[in-house]
Symmetry: C2
Subunit: 80 residues, 2 copies
C-alpha cells in the first residue's frame, strides 16, 4: 500500500527558512510572489492489506516520529 | 493563483535522512514499512492572471532557486 504523508508547520508558527526563500525570490525579481509556505512529505510503502491498517500505522508513525505535533500538522493520503 | 511545488531527490541519489527515518521506524517496531522516501513542498501564491504565467514563473523559480536540478526533480501543481 502506497501513501504520501505531508508535514507542515501549524499556521502562526514562524518559519525562518520559508521567510528567507520568499525574500530571496523577491530580490531575484519575482515580484508576483504573494505568499510562500514550506513543508515536507514522506512517500511510504507499507506491507499491509487494508486501507484501515495503513491509516492506523501511518497515524502512529506521524504521532511518534514523523511530525512534532506541538508545532506541526500532518496529513495522510493513501494512494493505492 | 495558488500552487504547490514538490521537490524530491532524483531516483538513485542517496538520501541519508530518509535512510535514518526508515531505520528508526524499523527499530520502533513498524515492521510493515517497506519503503520510505522524503521530499519537500512549497505552497506558493502568485499575483498573476493566467495559469500559463503562473506555470512559467514557478518553473523559473524551480530552475533558479527552489530545486537543485542536478540532483533533484520538481513537479508543479496549479491549484486555483
Amino acid at each position: 500500500m502506497k501513501a504520501r504523508v505531508y508535514v507542515q508547520l501549524k499556521p502562526g508558527v514562524l518559519d525562518p527558512e520559508a521567510s528567507v526563500v520568499s525574500k530571496t525570490l523577491g530580490t531575484m525579481g519575482f515580484d508576483t510572489l504573494s505568499k510562500l509556505d514550506m513543508g515536507k512529505f514522506f512517500d511510504i510503502e507499507l506491507d499491509v492489506d487494508s486501507t484501515e491498517k495503513a491509516e492506523a500505522t501511518l497515524k502512529e508513525m506521524c504521532e511518534k516520529l514523523l511530525s512534532n505535533t506541538v508545532i506541526e500538522n500532518y496529513k495522510i493520503e493513501i494512494q493505492s
